[in-house]
Amino acid sequence: MAEATHPAHVEHYTSTGIDHRKILMWLFLGSECLFFGSLIATYQVYRGQSLVGPHPHDVFNIPYTSISAFVLLMSSLTMALAVNSIRLGNLPATRIWLLLTALQGSIFVGGQVFEFTTFVEHGLSLQVNLFGTTFFVLTGFHGAHVTVGIIMLFSLLFASLLGKLTPAQALTVEIVGLYWHFVDIVWIVIFTVVYLLPY
């Protein structure tokens, strides 16, 4: 919407000096807090209310999930390094960090799929009891969010290989990074509440 007489890349005027898209992402993440908050609240309301097994201690493998949680946490580090690299104009490094972030996210989601499979083998399904219902829906929605993040990271990676992601779009990487850190932080809460707090 800049004046046509000005060059096309002229910065849009904003009241705060912050880009629209960055504010949009922050507000969206605020909204997402309420979304996950409600799912976690549902889990907590039904904590220990299942009438039949399997119960959490029958199926949880804390060391296994701790490792995949660690991988997801480390992906926040590589994400931050990707944002830093593109700010410095270092595209090859940006690609490496984006790829590593996406791969770590994929390891997490793959680990979740494996975990779900094991739980189903132990007799825990969506329908069997309240634990199954609330556990799968809460962690499933988190996994879906991570998956969306992975798709965005790979999209950035391909865009950079096609030459469409340049240091001028550093903000785009930063905004995807905001989303990525958010799903990471949500996992810290879910992991603590669902896995670590004693039943």
């Binding site: 009241s15 969206f28 997402e32 908050g37 549902t42 039904y46 329908q127 309240l130 829906v137």
Partner: protein
């Protein structure tokens, strides 16, 4: 690269298909606002028709006009339509039409996201109403209490249309609210600090915060019902140890902020209209703004007052009763500020003022006072599920509708270039005013006489007959008033008096633009120094210039032919993405078995198709140049 100069008359006259296509692909906030307005008005007629059917059924005892099942569907759809499609629809209409102009902006922050919000709204509204085609519209009440929504108790498709339709509408509301938040935070004209911003834009900000925080819990509740119905989970299955009360909490933690989502924009409109027609600045602007913020904040702490009769215990009921009564304070502050604005003003009794002052403030006080009566827990026990509650919330919602009419009469000339007729406007107002008070005044009495809500009929001899008849007559008066409005609107479009840029001697930036507003809004972005910027430009910052000496409304665009403003290009991808979303959720409804009218597992085909279309729309959107 739609460079708009003197396009009219130079470009070849577009054909009808091109014209329609230009509306499908528009990203102009004014055209999107008009689309919202037309859609919403259509649903006002649908919801109004449903209200008339209810009142025909209840006009006489033991009426056989509607069977109980149809009655359930009609009162449920009346509520859903009026809340989610009409009041929220008019809110979106006014946000789109007014906010960017009041801020001195050329459009919203994300024009394509704005188009997306509208199309999702339209398709979601259609999805919600689609159940009528199966004869299975939602019949569980607008609150859809669990576990009435379990497959066991409502095996029909109606509840599925409720669950899916409202999820789609939630996407629209959140997308739109995010957009207006960024717009208000980031696109205010240079010099317009937050406390120089018009009150309507302020209320849009508060409401948008409420939308992005209140809708997610509701969405989660709907997702849980959806999983229960489609995949056999246990969220609301007491046999598995679940507590259906969870739904009531998730619903009302959304449902009460929703009440303020409905009313705060109306309060914003009233705060714009009254100063203009009293020819005085708004009395106590900071108090009006902070009261709005405080109402929004308190809205989060009162949800359980919808659940007093559930049995949460005396402590919970007391706490929620007190927080509810507290809301009367900021609301009262606002009312006194409006009255003080009128006090000593040079009042111009025009239709917008009639609707704002008499149509909104006066009945809203009745709605507020009856609300405080509900906040008193022992009193609420007596009123729960009676017509007293129905009368209360209609005395809140009908003033909101009156405020919308105030806004329509006030801003109509800005977008059409023509005034609405004053004579018909006053007829419209008085029919509406008398009809509203007749309909719902009678229901206040019916509530005291103990008539229960939601029952499709009632026995004779309980003293309810005359009041019910009166209420039904009032409903037809309201319907007549809406007809008068439609006549007025059509007459104005055909032969209305030309309005000029500033017909009411306005105070805010939207009246700085020509009427109808050019597509680029402002040829030059205005620089703001005062709260009532336009007023200050005309009469001086302290009103030191006499009316006669007031400078004529400075034409912001003297050399109109030479204006070249770079505008975002039209796009059909938002409509494609919206269609995909609605199709996918419709597929969710169709996942229900064939015995009840679904397609069973074949529904997955529709879900998949919807997902593909959505993805295609989003990718096209992401990779087309924005401007």
């Amino acid at each position: 690269m739609a460079t708009v100069g003197r396009a009219v008359g130079v470009a070849p006259r577009p054909g009808f298909i091109e014209y329609l296509w230009s509306w499908v692909t528009t990203v102009d906030h004014k055209r999107i606002g008009i689309l919202y307005g037309l859609t919403t008005t259509a649903f006002l007629l649908v919801g109004g028709l449903e209200a008339l059917l209810i009142r025909i059924q209840l006009a006489h005892p033991e009426s056989k006009f509607l069977d109980p099942n149809t009655y359930n569907q009609i009162f449920t759809m009346h509520g859903l339509t009026m809340i989610f499609l009409v009041v929220m629809g008019y809110n979106a209409t006014f946000f789109n039409l007014v906010v960017p102009l009041q801020l001195g902006a050329r459009d919203v922050a994300f024009p394509r996201l704005n188009a997306f919000s509208y199309w999702v709204f339209l398709f979601g509204a259609l999805l919600l109403n689609l159940g009528w085609l199966w004869g299975q519209a939602p019949g569980v009440g607008w609150f859809g209490y669990a576990n009435l929504t379990s497959v066991e108790y409502t095996p029909d498709l109606g509840t599925d249309f409720y669950v899916m339709g409202l999820q789609v509408l939630g996407i629209s509301s959140i997308a739109s609210a995010l957009n207006f938040l960024v717009t208000i935070i980031n696109l205010r004209a240079p010099g317009m600090s937050m406390f120089k911003m018009p009150v309507f834009s302020w209320m849009t900000l508060v409401v948008s915060v409420l939308v992005i925080t209140a809708f997610p819990p509701f969405t989660v509740g709907l997702i849980e019902v959806m999983f229960d119905r489609l995949f056999g989970t246990n969220f609301f299955n007491p046999a598995a140890g679940a507590n259906p009360l969870l739904w009531q909490h998730l619903f009302w933690i959304f449902g009460h902020p929703e009440v303020y989502i409905l009313v705060l924009p109306a309060m914003g409109i009233v705060s714009e209209v009254i100063p203009v027609f009293a020819r005085k600045p708004l009395f106590g602007y900071p108090f009006v703004v902070f009261s709005g913020i405080f109402i929004g904040f308190l809205g989060w702490g009162v949800w359980a007052h919808h659940m007093f009769a559930v049995g949460l215990g005396p402590i919970a009921n007391t706490v929620f009763g007190i927080t509810t009564m507290l809301i009367a304070v900021p609301t009262g502050v606002k009312i006194f500020n409006w009255l003080a604005t009128l006090w000593g003003g040079q009042i111009q009794v025009k239709t917008p003022l009639l609707f704002a002052a008499l149509g909104f403030i006066a009945p809203f006080i009745i709605g507020g006072v009856t609300g405080v009566m509900h906040a008193t827990v022992p009193s609420d026990y007596q009123q729960t599920d009676t017509y007293f509650v129905v009368a209360h919330f209609h005395y809140v919602i009908m003033p909101i509708v009156a405020a919308f009419f105030a806004g329509i009469y006030y801003w109509w000339p800005k977008y059409t270039g023509r005034l609405l007729d004053e004579g018909l406007g006053k007829l419209h107002f008085w029919l509406f005013f008398v009809g509203t008070n007749l309909t719902f005044g009678a229901q206040v009495v019916l509530g005291f006489l103990g008539m229960p809500r939601r029952n499709y009929t009632y026995p004779a001899g309980l003293g309810w007959e005359p009041w019910n008849l009166l209420s039904s007559i009032g409903a037809f008066l309201i319907a007549l008033s809406v007809l008068v409005f439609i006549v007025n609107a059509l007459k104005s479009l055909r032969s209305g008096e030309p309005a000029g840029p500033d017909p009411w001697d306005g105070r805010t930036l939207e009246w700085l633009t020509p009427s109808p507003v050019p597509v680029y809004n402002f040829a030059e972005i205005p620089v703001v120094r005062y709260r009532d910027e336009l007023w200050a430009r005309k009469y001086g910052p302290h009103g030191e210039r006499a009316a006669a000496a007031a400078r004529p409304n400075p034409d912001p665009n003297p050399g109109r032919e030479e204006v070249h403003v770079h505008l975002p290009r039209p796009s059909y991808y938002p409509a494609v993405a919206a269609l995909g979303i609605a199709l996918g959720f419709f597929g969710g409804v169709m996942l229900r078995p064939a015995e009840v009218g679904g397609l069973g597992p074949l529904g997955w085909v529709l879900v998949g198709l919807g997902a593909l279309i959505t993805l295609a729309g989003l990718y096209g959107w992401a990779f087309e140049p924005a401007d």
